[in-house]
């Protein structure tokens, strides 16, 4: 099975969270076939909107642990990512990055590093942990498919935290390259040879470049009031006893 999904399932188990209360929301281009192996509530929505949909789930039922797994690499969903971070919406966002949009031949994703595309690219990729941290995420980490134990630990830690947590997962397996260049094993080798664990590294320094090392690890872990905390605090201060705090 997909090493990421195995680690994710183990992470839920290790966190002690009731799997019934875990709901995964994903988007296009993330392949729902991957999550269909999991026996949990699962919403597969449209291109890039998983975080927005997840916000509704979380506010509708604050007892849920909502996990948007996004494959669009902060493109269409960029604004939702930024604002969910700003609000500190209680979501665990997993950015699945395999350097191309899965299933779509040769289209470039904004997190793609130069030289991985047929004609290379001139666009700077996003440094996802840095972006998340700047937006206000309370937990940021990055692991590759080879770091299954660390990924499991990160998922279990993040599930227990209240607030906007972001884990970037680097996966092999872009169909396009498998077909055209048989590069899949190369990508795994690339991860194996170039990734270096640096827990606590400043997210500013973890951008992925073709020349440099892939820095993985747990980068930030802090506390901040969540959206629902601030909502309750603000409305209580304005309305006093009239207001019954929401969720909990």
């Amino acid at each position: 099975m997909n090493p990421f999904i195995t680690a994710f399932a183990k992470g839920i188990e290790r966190s002690g969270v009731d799997p019934i209360k875990v709901s995964v929301v994903s988007d296009i281009p993330f392949d729902p076939g991957v999550v269909n192996h999991l026996h949990i509530d699962f919403f597969h929505t449209i291109r890039g909107r998983a975080i927005a949909f997840g916000t509704g789930l979380k506010l509708g039922n604050p007892a849920l642990q909502v996990v948007p797994i996004i494959g669009d690499l902060v493109t269409l969903g960029g604004n939702h990512f930024v604002h969910a971070g700003r609000r500190n919406m209680d979501l665990l966002v997993i950015c699945v990055n395999n350097f191309v949009y899965r299933k779509i031949a040769g289209e470039l994703a904004p997190s793609i590093p130069p030289s991985f595309s047929p004609y290379s690219t001139f666009e700077e990729p996003f440094n996802v942990p840095h972006l998340a941290n700047s937006c206000g995420a309370i937990y940021t980490a990055r692991w590759t498919a080879l770091h299954t134990d660390e990924l499991t630990l990160s998922v279990s830690e993040a599930l227990k935290k209240r607030g906007f947590c972001v884990i970037e997962v680097l996966l092999p397996g872009p169909n396009y390259y498998r077909r055209i260049k048989e590069i899949e094993s190369d990508l795994v080798n690339f991860y194996y040879e170039n990734s270096v664990i640096r827990d606590g590294e400043d997210p500013r320094n973890v951008g992925i470049t073709p020349e440099g090392k892939i820095v993985v690890g747990k980068f930030t872990d802090k506390e901040r009031p969540t959206f629902i905390d601030s909502y309750n605090a603000q409305l209580s201060s304005v309305l006093g006893d009239e207001f019954i705090p929401y969720g909990g």
Partner: protein, 400 residues
């Protein structure tokens, strides 16, 4: 037999109140059990947003100002799956942004209500000027094949009544329902009568009652509508916006496309007679019928009275549901009347439907909105069309 339930007294502000259309719409939503609003504030719908915030504490409702209207509708869909009645309120520009999620709402068969307080366009247009330019967008705005329900209120009282109706239809058919208001109705302040909770009937959500292990999210009842469950209750279900089977798993074959999409259309078309509602006045002996919806129907009734007094037999057909369009009734009337006169605050949208359904049997006159109002134009259009000796092809454009 379906059973309606009485409204939750917490959300019902019984009494006679002076409210504008936006406020009345929110009162209707709260009376119908709406407890979640996600929106991005926009003129001329902003009073609805403010009023919901004002009232949320009384009913224990939740609200969030999202980053845009795309995410507003996404959040509404998410909240609806947790069992909360949810709505969003917007105007033209936001309505355009919502179209992709409207398709998702149709595909996931998620009950929700979208209120569009229309303003002139295209693009930003003039935020504070009324229009009815989104009527075709409401029907055809999202890609692919689907059927949709849209209502059009003409007064604050109808904003209240139709919003309740919208929630009820939405839960009954598991389809997003649109309330197509306009600035004129939303900003007009009038007396709104809110009945006691015992007199407001609300459609309960249709929940699945079988064994948890046997739940399939898209297994339909006999009326093509699948029963629902709330997320997080242990049913462990999957749903997707991709073409899917009963389990909600993506199966992208030709057979599954048919299997999936056919019922989405059927569940509305089969019950079209139950859904469609019109309000008729003096159509029995009418030679000319004014077909109107929303704010212009107020001018239509006035013009009708005036014309009757001067001896012209005029009737009125006011659309409550604009989508689905009352095809049958308009076709019936077309056999009897000389002409239809259609006033709209746009360059001709629902008049196309009137022309389609009249099958060339009656003249169809389109009266566009002008600053000075509809009434005089309607009257002279009626007088003019009465002089027509035969049925003319296509739509007759009235120039005042």
């Amino acid at each position: 037999m379906r059973r309606l339930m009485r409204a939750d007294p917490k959300g019902v502000l019984t009494g006679v109140h002076s409210l504008n259309g936006n406020q009345a719409c929110v009162e209707g939503a709260l009376a119908a059990g709406c407890r979640f609003l996600a929106a991005y504030p926009i003129v001329p719908a902003i009073e609805a947003w403010e009023w919901f915030l004002e009232r949320a504490k009384d009913v224990g409702a939740t609200f969030i100002q999202m980053e845009d209207e795309i995410s507003a509708l996404a959040a509404v869909l998410g909240a609806s799956w947790t069992g909360k009645r949810s709505m969003t309120i917007t105007s033209g520009p936001g309505f355009s942004l919502m179209m992709e999620h409207l398709g998702l709402a149709v595909m996931l068969e998620t009950p929700c209500v979208i209120v569009d307080v229309q303003r002139v366009g295209p693009s930003i247009g003039t935020p504070d000027r009324p229009a009815q330019g989104d009527m075709m967008q409401a029907r055809w705005g999202s890609h692919g094949d689907y059927e949709i329900i849209a209502l059009s209120p003409s007064s604050p009282q109808e904003m209240f009544d139709f919003t309740i109706k919208a929630f009820n239809l939405s839960e009954r058919y598991r389809v997003p329902v649109m309330v197509m208001a306009d600035r004129e109705v939303a900003h007009r302040k009038e007396e709104v009568v809110i009945p006691p909770p015992s007199e407001i009937m609300v459609e309960p959500r249709r929940y699945y009652r079988g064994a948890k292990s046997r739940y399939l999210p898209f297994k339909r009842d006999r009326d093509f509508v699948p029963p629902m469950v709330d997320i997080g209750d242990g049913y462990r279900f999957h749903v997707t916006g991709l073409t899917h089977d009963d389990r909600g798993y993506p199966i992208m074959t030709e057979e599954c496309q048919e299997y999936n999409v056919h019922p989405l259309v059927r569940k509305i078309r089969r019950y079209v007679d139950e859904i469609v509602q019109v309000q008729e006045a003096d159509t029995e002996d009418a030679e000319v019928v004014i077909i109107s919806y929303g704010a212009p129907s107020r001018a239509a009734l006035k013009a009708m009275g005036e014309a009757r007094r001067s001896g012209v037999k005029v009737g009125s057909l006011k659309l409550v549901t604009v989508w689905p369009f009352p095809d049958k009734r308009v076709a019936e009337l077309a056999k009897k009347v000389k002409a239809f006169v259609v006033p709209e605050m746009n360059y001709g949208q629902m008049v196309l439907e009137v022309e389609r359904c009249s099958h060339g049997r009656a003249n169809v006159v389109f009266v566009p909105y002008e600053e000075k109002g509809f009434e005089d134009d309607l009257l002279s259009a009626i007088r003019k069309v009465c002089q027509e000796k035969k049925v003319r092809e296509g739509i007759i454009q009235y120039h005042g």
